[in-house]
């Protein structure tokens, strides 16, 4: 057994153990801790597989933001947790659920293991056409040029999700600030860390977006880091969430998909097809779209984690 294989076995064992813990833990908070650890370590798995862009996205979303979302969900459910625990389904139902999950996992494993070698892939064509946009990162090429339609539609889905979350607010609270107002000593430790870490995080977020053109990175990963830093300042009580009725906020939320849509329609009117970029302007257009998308992704993810409006709007 080579050292490389031994390493992969260790990594797989740790990740599988964490997954088992997250499923089997009794308390919600214990399960969420396991889930966050699992998300952060899956990023390691992606690096080991050579997919650094995905590792960046996984570390940001799976580890950081997804975990925090689950934490706040668990906190809101705490009052009902005892009642829910009392209604635990019987052993038969749980056994059936376990069997069904195991069958799905086995089916997926069989499908993956039976892929022909080499697996069918469009990667060579994507790499061959990299000159179309002039960017060195093939993943960014695929996301922003060859499959730009999917990326555009994803942003609309994010917006729809946010509208869904906002619609959970009580009628009288509509237009107010999402989430509770966090209190923390402005001279205390948490405020200190937020003041020190947030600027660093903003620089790293912008760097990740900028370097996504030629190296692993991109608008989504950078936007997620920015969202985490904004959430950090909110948790430290340094700023409050913006009211959902704020026009500026809504403009930022719409900017990403809006710019993308405008460029796409311009391609329809002046070019060959929807979302076709003129060869000379491909890179500047893509950069402009990415900047708008970063702002939108950062704002959307922050507001998704903050929740529905809970504070009445002060007029």
């Amino acid at each position: 057994m080579s050292i490389q294989t031994a390493l992969e076995l260790v990594l797989a064992a740790v990740v599988l153990g964490l997954a088992a813990w997250a499923v089997a833990a009794r308390e919600t908070s214990a399960a969420v801790v396991g889930f966050i650890a699992y998300g952060l370590l899956i990023a390691l798995v992606w690096v080991a597989l050579g997919a650094v862009d995905v590792a960046l996205a996984e570390a940001a979303i799976g580890g950081g933001l997804g975990g925090v979302l689950l934490l706040s969900a668990g906190a809101r459910l705490r009052e009902n947790e005892k009642r829910a625990a009392a209604e635990r389904p019987g052993a038969g139902a749980r056994l059936a659920a376990a069997a069904l999950s195991a069958m799905v996992a086995a089916g997926l494993a069989v499908a993956v293991l039976r892929l022909p070698t080499p697996a069918p892939t469009l990667a060579p064509q994507a790499a061959a056409n990299a000159a179309a946009t002039g960017m060195g990162n093939p993943i960014t090429n695929v996301l922003m040029a060859f499959r730009a339609m999917d990326t555009l539609l994803e942003k609309f889905v994010l917006l729809l999700g946010l509208v869904g979350v906002w619609s959970l607010a009580a009628d009288r609270l509509w237009g107010g600030n999402p989430g509770p107002r966090h209190q923390a000593d402005p001279l205390g430790l948490l405020a200190f860390l937020a003041r020190l870490l947030a600027p660093i995080g903003v620089v790293v977020g912008i760097y990740v977006v900028w370097t996504g053109a030629d190296h692993p990175g991109g608008a989504f990963q950078g936007g997620t880091v920015l969202a985490a830093m904004w959430l950090l300042t909110m948790m430290a009580g340094l700023t409050d969430t913006p009211p959902v009725s704020s026009l500026r906020l809504r403009l930022v939320l719409v900017a990403g998909p809006g710019v993308f849509l405008v460029v796409g329609l311009a391609g329809l009117l002046f070019g060959a097809a929807f979302l076709s970029y003129p060869a000379a302007y491909a890179k500047p257009l893509i950069v402009a779209i990415e900047v708008a998308m970063t702002l939108t992704v950062a704002a959307t993810l922050t507001l998704l984690s903050a929740g529905a409006p809970e504070q009445r709007l002060e007029r």
Binding site: I3, V47, A48, G50, G63, G64, L190, L197, Y207
Partner: protein, 96 residues
């Protein structure tokens, strides 16, 4: 050199796993708060070593992002622990 780095990477991962086992068992929530910090140090060391083994400098970006977000997760845990204290005994949480 690559073999040595891979071996030390595997060793640190095993240490990480053992630490996680102990932390996740910890009888209280306060013990489990340390999980994000453990990953923030041992996980980052592992990522940096992986980057050196694969000769991919972009992995250092992943390590930095991991560090930022593990800190963010730790702070979320601490806030949750403190807010639970607020619920059970307002005034004892003090300054954070």
């Amino acid at each position: 050199m690559t073999a040595f780095l891979t071996a030390s990477l595997g060793f640190i991962l095993v240490m990480l796993a053992l630490g996680l086992v102990r932390i996740l068992h910890g009888p209280r929530d306060a013990d489990r708060m340390m999980a994000a910090q453990l990953i923030g140090s041992a996980g980052i060391a592992s990522t940096l070593l992986l980057g050196a083994v694969n000769r991919s400098p972009a992995t250092i970006d992943v390590a930095f992002t991991l560090g930022l977000l593990a800190t963010f997760a730790s702070i979320a845990f601490v806030k949750k622990g403190l807010s639970r204290l607020e619920v059970e005994d307002p005034g004892s949480a003090g300054d954070a």
